[in-house]
């Protein structure tokens, strides 16, 4: 009895392998897809990295008042007047650094007698830029108001900027990891929707369903193939990030791989599920933006979630891409380990995969006509 079961499992695995191999062979033969796989992340990284800057609300800012003079007062007033920030007063600079590294605040302003220190989170350059700008404006305002009335022209305190990760990241660098997630999501879901649609339009799906292969094995075969493809794509993006843009890579590569594989399996099942609602490739092109654009825009990949209006933010937290982007940023840029991102990111991706996998296998309709 046990022998029979082992035999059945190996037969089942062999069928899954057959489907996976076939999908990879098909992709291999499609040169345009191969090129898209390599070129897309590069183009996206360059374009989006440079093109985006947003208006922010809800940046969590810490203020450490070591010295309280008129100039410092003016800066604080300015920070408070701006509705961009939600401000927390902190006791010391070390506490500020600690909170930033834990991701609980986005930056801190330390007001000393002769110097003002900006401690910024290097992984969110746009947030860092906003903080810097507001502090500078505050200083200039203070200068205009009070400089003339000061008895001694002691000058303004110097502004020193410190990045907590010791690296002055450019926008494109921090967007890079998120773009990896976006590209995988896009590429995998779009290709699978079209792949399954083609199988349906050709007689191949029908022929395959009248064979010992069941629906779970079919979707699993696709997942196997796209895991290979997504890993290859991630490796390419990785090399571009490290060699091309000189982004320092911290964190565990295993964690990165797990995120990539989970995201790709989920996106694949999602794409297979979507293919049930389309009858032509033209419709895929129409449906795809509706489904994927909101995700990509609200995922925190292009612009930090802090810059997304509050009423839209719940959507961000529903989309799986948000968690993938967050997880990749944390691992690649902040050196987070798998344990650090287990909740909510990895958990969310596992749920995403399970739900879509169920829907995809459940929905492969036998009734095609």
């Amino acid at each position: 009895m046990k022998m029979v079961q082992t035999g059945e499992v190996s037969q089942s695995l062999y069928r899954i392998w057959s489907v996976g191999l076939r999908v990879i062979r098909q992709t291999k033969r499609d040169r345009r897809t191969i090129v898209a796989l390599i070129i897309n992340p590069i183009i996206l990284m360059l374009l989006i990295g440079y093109a985006f800057s947003g208006t922010f609300t809800g940046i969590n800012l810490g203020i450490v008042e070591l010295y309280s003079g008129p100039v410092q007062e003016s800066v604080v007033n300015h920070l408070q007047a701006s509705d961009t920030f939600s401000i927390t007063y902190l006791a010391s600079e070390s506490e500020a650094r600690k909170l930033i590294s834990e991701g609980r605040i986005d930056g801190a302003v330390v007001l000393g007698n002769n110097a003002i220190s900006l401690i910024l989170d290097g992984t969110s350059p746009q947030v860092a830029g906003t903080i810097t700008t507001v502090v500078q404006t505050g200083l200039q305002a203070a200068a205009a108001q009070i400089l003339g009335s000061l008895p001694i022209r002691s000058g303004l305190p110097a502004v020193n900027t410190y990045y907590v990760y010791g690296y002055d990241l450019e926008v494109k660098d921090s967007v890079g990891p998120a773009l990896l997630a976006v590209t995988i999501f896009f590429f995998t879901s779009l290709n699978t929707t079209i792949g399954f649609l083609r199988e349906r339009l050709q007689g191949t799906l029908e022929k395959v369903l009248v064979s010992p292969l069941d629906r779970i094995e079919l979707v699993s075969g696709y997942i196997l193939a796209y895991m290979v493809l997504s890993t290859a794509q991630s490796a390419i993006t990785f090399v571009i990030l490290v060699v091309g843009f000189k982004v320092p890579i911290g964190g565990s590569l295993l964690a990165v791989l797990i995120i990539v594989l989970l995201l790709s399996a989920g996106s694949l099942s999602f794409g297979a599920f979507l293919s049930n609602f389309v009858t032509t490739e033209f419709q895929v092109m129409q449906l795809n933006p509706v489904v994927t654009f909101p995700q990509t825009i609200l995922s925190g990949a292009w612009v930090p979630i802090q810059s997304i209006p509050g009423w839209l933010r719940p959507l961000s937290y529903i989309f799986p891409l948000t968690y993938a982007c967050d997880a990749l940023k944390l691992t690649l840029l902040k050196g987070a380990s798998l344990a650090d991102i287990l909740y909510p990111d990895v958990t969310a991706l596992v749920i995403f995969f399970l739900v879509t996998f169920f829907m995809a296998t459940f929905m492969i309709k036998k009734e095609i006509a």
Binding site: R15, W17, L21, R25, Q202, T204, E206, S211, P212
Partner: protein, 323 residues
């Protein structure tokens, strides 16, 4: 004239019941046997209380005009379409257990069943894989099916680049990869040149000789004529199921005598007076005769200058039944 009530008794489907088919003692002699098959799509009855009887080891043709439900019936048999009501046994297994029959089925859908961007070999390897055929056995099976369809040299060609006839032959090869006991081929000869068509019939004969059952759908008369059995469908009903000859008989078609005579009008009046069906074209009379003795009788009486016996065609049966 042709309502289902007129169908031969052997294929008339009384209301289905599970007990009826379980009681059929020779059920295992049929590759497919069904009763009361009913299916609707969006309130449109596609199959209406239909019987089907496909004996093992024959070529069986589902014949009918477009939209008569041939493809739907085929897909019902394979469990691709959920049955509304009715009872079917496939290779002696009830439809509910169709999954265990799949390894023994070979299906060639009407739409293109091959991956156009793969080579012929890759397509064959894929389908072999689905049936768990691997290693040396896979190589052997692939060679074998390619030999059956006479295309061993196409192995490394991209499937999408093949001509229509070659494509259909490779589709058939893929369908044969698991040596199925029951082949279901949906319009296998569409877009196939006459030479390939001819060879298909050769393959089918070979397969039935091995005891396999070949079911095809078609709306082409000559193809149906070549099958051992024809199931004649119209508007989702099985009008008749029998050999092509019997079907002609059932349509009430008789042999026709074509006679050139000297006095057509006079002869015609005489024959009509005897209750025969006569048609006239110039000096030629067409007379329907039920059997050989009647034919001799008419010839004796008319003494034509020249005559010819016209056998009824399945097409005329088809037209007569379809009206």
């Amino acid at each position: 004239m042709s309502t289902p009530e007129k169908a031969p008794s052997e294929s008339r489907g009384p209301r289905s019941s599970m007990s009826e088919l379980t009681q059929v003692p020779e059920r295992d002699l049929f590759a497919v046997i069904g009763r009361g098959i009913t299916k609707s799509f969006d309130n449109l009855r596609v199959l209406q209380d239909m019987p089907v009887n496909i004996p093992r080891g024959v070529t069986y043709c589902l014949l009918g005009p477009n939209g008569s439900g041939k493809t739907t019936l085929m897909r019902v048999i394979m469990g691709l379409v959920k049955l509304e009501s009715g009872d079917i046994y496939i290779l002696d297994e009830p439809l509910s257990r169709i999954n265990i029959v799949y390894p023994r089925l070979g299906y060639m859908p009407q739409q293109r069943p091959l991956y156009p961007d793969l080579t012929v070999l890759e397509n064959l390897e894929f389908y072999a894989g689905l049936y768990g055929i691997r290693g040396q056995e896979r190589i052997r099976r692939i060679d074998e099916v390619l030999r059956v369809v006479d295309l061993p040299e196409t192995k490394n060609r991209i499937t999408g680049m093949l001509s229509g006839g070659m494509y259909q032959r490779i589709s058939l090869a893929c369908t044969l990869i698991n040596s199925p006991d029951l082949l279901l081929l949906d319009e296998p000869t569409v877009g196939v040149d006459p030479v390939t068509k001819q060879s298909f019939w050769g393959y089918f004969r070979e397969l039935t000789k091995e005891g396999k059952t070949v079911v095809i759908t078609t709306h082409i008369m000559e193809e149906a004529e070549r099958c051992d059995m024809v199931g004649f469908m119209r508007n989702g009903r099985m009008l008749a199921e029998s050999s092509p000859d019997k079907l002609k008989e059932f349509a009430g078609l008789k042999k026709q005598l074509r006679m050139k005579v000297a006095d057509p009008e006079g002869k015609m009046a005489k024959l009509v007076g005897e209750g025969l069906e006569v048609r006239i074209e110039g000096d030629i009379l067409f007379v329907d005769v039920s059997d050989t003795s009647k034919m001799m009788e008419v010839l004796d009486q008319v003494k034509p200058m020249d005559f010819k016996v016209i056998e009824p065609t399945l097409e005329s049966a088809f037209l007569k039944l379809a009206i």
